[in-house]
Amino acid sequence: MNGACGRRYLLETMGSGVALFDADGDGDLDLFLVDGARLPCCPATSGPATRDRYFENLGGGAFRDATERSGLGDPGYGMGVAVGDVDGDGRPDVHVANFGPDRLFRNLGEGRFEDVTGPARVGDPRWGSSAAFGDFDRDGDLDLLVANYLDFTVATHRDCTAANGIPVYCDPDAYGRVGSVLYRNAGDGTFEDATEASGVGLPGKALGVVFADLDLDGDGDLYVANDGVENFLFRNDGRGVFEEDGLVSGAALSDRGFAQAGMGVTAGDADGDGLPDLLVTNLSGETNAYYRNLGPGGFVHRSQAAGLGAPSLLDTGFGAEFADFDLDGDLDLLVANGHVLDNAERVSDVLRSRQLHRLYRNEGGLFREATAEAIPPEASEGFGRGLAVGDFDGDGLPDVVVSHCGGAPFLYRNASGGGARGVQIRLVGTRSNRDGIGARVEARVGERLLVREVVGGGSYLSHSDRTILLGLGSAPEAREVTVRWPSGAVQRLGSLPAGGLLVLREAEGAGR
């Protein structure tokens, strides 16, 4: 639920996230859905009291509500979710960003969690949105960046109208910027607020965040998608101190030089050159922004030339992930769409409130929209917000969950045929952080070199499974598979056959 009661608080239209992760350690992906709440300013009749929901995977993609037993049923007004093993015990912990105090849940095993927000000191009361785990200071444990959205409270709500006098949700310009917060993991169950020391406290209007090595210097950088103001690219100096470089790098604005309504963001090597590119979802009228990575020097905006411009012009995109949905070896793109205005049709005669979620198939670096052939029409549109990718039915193909604002989620089971197969690699860090965030996997498939990175954050308010997937197409194996860990260790695995799942533990004696 989003708590909407007619006042059009901006909060109501921002939606909530979704996570796919193995919460109970049984080897399959469970589902966590963040939920909004009844707003205190709305009458009690505006809907039932709600809480975040946890669904246990019973195997093969059938789920059972296990919220009560899990302890994950936070009743706060939930926005985003991030998952990471913060205490290195092999069990993924859960951070929930709220409109109100955020929450951290420590995984006790067997799908049970305890709220450790207080002792961990991560209960920021501001309007949190997305969050990303990553080992920012490379000390072997996971730190956390929580993006905050706007300087908004129910008391500072403004009534806004479109040009034709129709009441609408306000543009984010109506509210001030606010800084995000970076927590450094102290290694003893607590976190230190390192926002100032790390340099990431620049005020913005952050909605999406991803942690990935964007300049290929061996440490993870942070990219923040801001709504209506320039996006940030924080380059890491290797010690967890960041310098904002968005404008200079070319990844802050549209090619026309304007800030856009950055919502979600995903990073991945979309053009197959070994460098992580970025895709930022935006508001209708803007097109999504595809920033092609040119190397350490920066990015070039290539939405139009990559085929991602025109088809997204009327969409308002939120969650997005690059993933090899057809296992042909390149990264496709799925975007959850849905306008922020529940009455968009009254504001513009070409906009729709409920929008199509779009699949873009990668065809040699040029994306072709393939929604009609891939997504059943009866489940193809809505007020899409969160989006997470993961193989929840265990068939080796990446599936998808899309959350909707004020509505039920869609679970898309990947039914790609054609006989293509892949190799899955699940990384377990030892010297590096346990989740392997920041690790790079390289493999030769035919003549191609595939490069995949375990990233932190990504999409919109959501968490996707971190298993590395190498799509092989018709090739029987991936050759010269190499893992470069954030610790600097390098593991060469030789060939891996199609169809396999490898759980790879960082080797103690691996070379550099």
Binding site: T161, G250, F258, Q304, A305, G307, G309, D349
Partner: protein
């Protein structure tokens, strides 16, 4: 006074003056002037189109719709009138309706180049590049820079980069100062890795339109990538100024859009544009503010300033005269009137009387000191003039005009060393204030010290940009 509507109806063709009203943002005035025509048999199709446009501009789409229906079926306005109406519809969130209107007009005139180009533009706005190409391939389609730009941009969004480059090169060959084509070509070449070519295109775009954020950002990035650090630093400052201006403008426009009935929102937008030298663009919001609050003195004053800046001194004199009658105790208004009258060549005595009146009323502006000083100079009282000019610089240290006037006066009196000393002292006293520098540059150039002047000019350029950035962000 004769009512505007009567005046317009009495004319042979009311379209031109009504269009002028619309362009000035006086939507209600345009609508009331044209409305009687809307119900008349045999009304000219262009006046119907214009009336519909006025309704759309006022957000009264229900009233516009019957006219749109008539224009689609019975009436055949000029392509220019239809295109203007279509653009107004699109900016009011009715780009789909604009397409229907253009399509119906094209059904009657399938090879009209103006309509074909407009229809192509409308489809581009909907993200339908294949349809853009279809319109531009039809008989009668134009082939100028605008059409080639649309063709190039559409081909690019279909991934047909080589063809896109050909089209964009045709566009810039036809019109080298077509900034959108130059910028699009710059992006294309940058994507291809032709950094020098891209830089040339971005610079050509900026030569045609210095305020294009996309080209300014592209140029700065490329200079950095090409290792030209100093040039890149300055280019980034310039880009940040443009970017900050566009962001601030967007904020003001959003506020006006979300609160269209609040005159203050339109006035803030108009004032912002005026302060940032977008004088002509400031007129429609200022006019809109005045339509909503006709007696708002601040809006009237802003309009007068805009008129004066556009060289329309007769109109600004009239407005300042009206304001003076309403606010006889305001010395600044007397000063403004004096300035406008001086500009129009009024007798010196008349101007002097207004200046004295301004001083008597306690006006504290440097502009008054300068005007009085200039009068002193003309009257052969150089020391009095210099005293007033110095007074102006101490009153408003950031006023470049004051420093320039003081520098010129000293120079023309043969006291060049004194002028240089005085200007350098001012620059040292406040290193963040660029205002005295243009006068120093002029002085150094006059003394043949061109290398020093060039160094000062580079410093000044950067300082001005940084100061503008601070001002826009504020």
């Amino acid at each position: 006074m004769i009512p505007l509507a009567t005046l317009l109806l009495g004319l042979q063709d009311p379209v031109a003056p009504a269009r002028a009203l619309l362009e000035e943002g006086r939507f209600a005035a345009a609508a009331s002037a044209l409305e009687p025509l809307g119900v008349k048999e045999g009304a000219s199709p262009d006046s119907l189109a214009l009336l519909a446009e006025a309704w759309v501009a006022l957000g009264l789409l229900d009233r516009a719709e019957p006219l749109l229906g008539r224009l689609s079926t019975e009436s055949s306005p000029s392509p220019e009138a239809l295109v203007s109406l279509a653009e107004r519809l699109a900016s009011a969130g009715r780009i789909g309706r604009a397409g229907v209107l253009l399509d119906s007009a094209l059904a009657r005139r399938p090879d009209d180049p103006v309509l074909l180009l407009a229809a192509a533009r409308q489809r581009y706005g909907l993200g339908k590049p294949d349809q853009v190409l279809d319109f531009l391939a039809r008989p009668g389609a134009p082939s100028g820079s605008g059409a080639e730009y649309l063709r190039g941009a559409s081909l690019r969004s279909l991934g047909r980069e080589a063809e896109a480059e050909t089209a964009l090169r045709r566009a810039v060959a036809a019109e080298p100062r077509h900034a959108p084509s130059q910028e699009e070509l710059g992006h294309l070449l940058e994507g291809k890795g032709d950094l020098e070519g891209a830089l040339r295109s971005f610079e050509a775009a900026l030569a045609a339109d210095a305020d294009r954020p996309g080209a300014a950002g592209g140029r700065a990035r490329l200079l950095a990538r090409l290792g030209r650090r100093e040039d890149a630093d300055l280019a980034f400052v310039r880009f940040r100024v443009i970017h900050a201006f566009e962001e601030a403008r967007k904020d003001h426009e959003t506020s006006a859009r979300e609160h269209p009935e609040q005159p203050g929102a339109w006035l803030a937008l108009g004032d912002f544009l005026l302060e940032n030298r977008q004088v002509r663009e400031s007129l429609p919001p200022l006019r809109r503010a005045l339509e909503l609050a006709p007696d708002d003195a601040r809006a009237i004053e802003s309009l007068a300033r805009a008129r004066a800046a556009l060289g329309e001194s007769e109109e600004s004199e009239r407005i300042y005269g009206d304001l003076r009658r309403r606010f006889p105790d305001r010395g600044d208004l007397a000063l403004r009137l004096a300035e406008v009258r001086e500009e129009r060549g009024a007798p010196e005595g008349e101007v002097a009387r207004l200046l004295e009146e301004s001083a008597r009323l306690g006006c504290q502006e440097a502009a008054l000191d300068l005007a009085l000083g200039r009068a002193d100079l003309r009257a052969g009282r150089p020391e009095d003039a210099l005293r007033r000019f110095r007074e102006a610089t101490s009153r408003e240290a950031g006023n470049a005009e004051a420093w320039r006037t003081l520098g010129f006066a000293l120079e023309s009196l043969g006291r060049k060393d004194e002028a240089e000393r005085e200007l350098r002292t001012a620059l040292e006293r406040d290193r963040s204030n660029p205002a005295p520098r243009p006068a120093l540059i002029h002085l150094l150039e006059g003394r043949g010290r061109t290398a020093e002047a060039a160094r000062e000019r580079a410093l000044y350029e950067r300082q001005v940009l940084e100061s503008r950035l601070r001002s826009v962000r504020r």
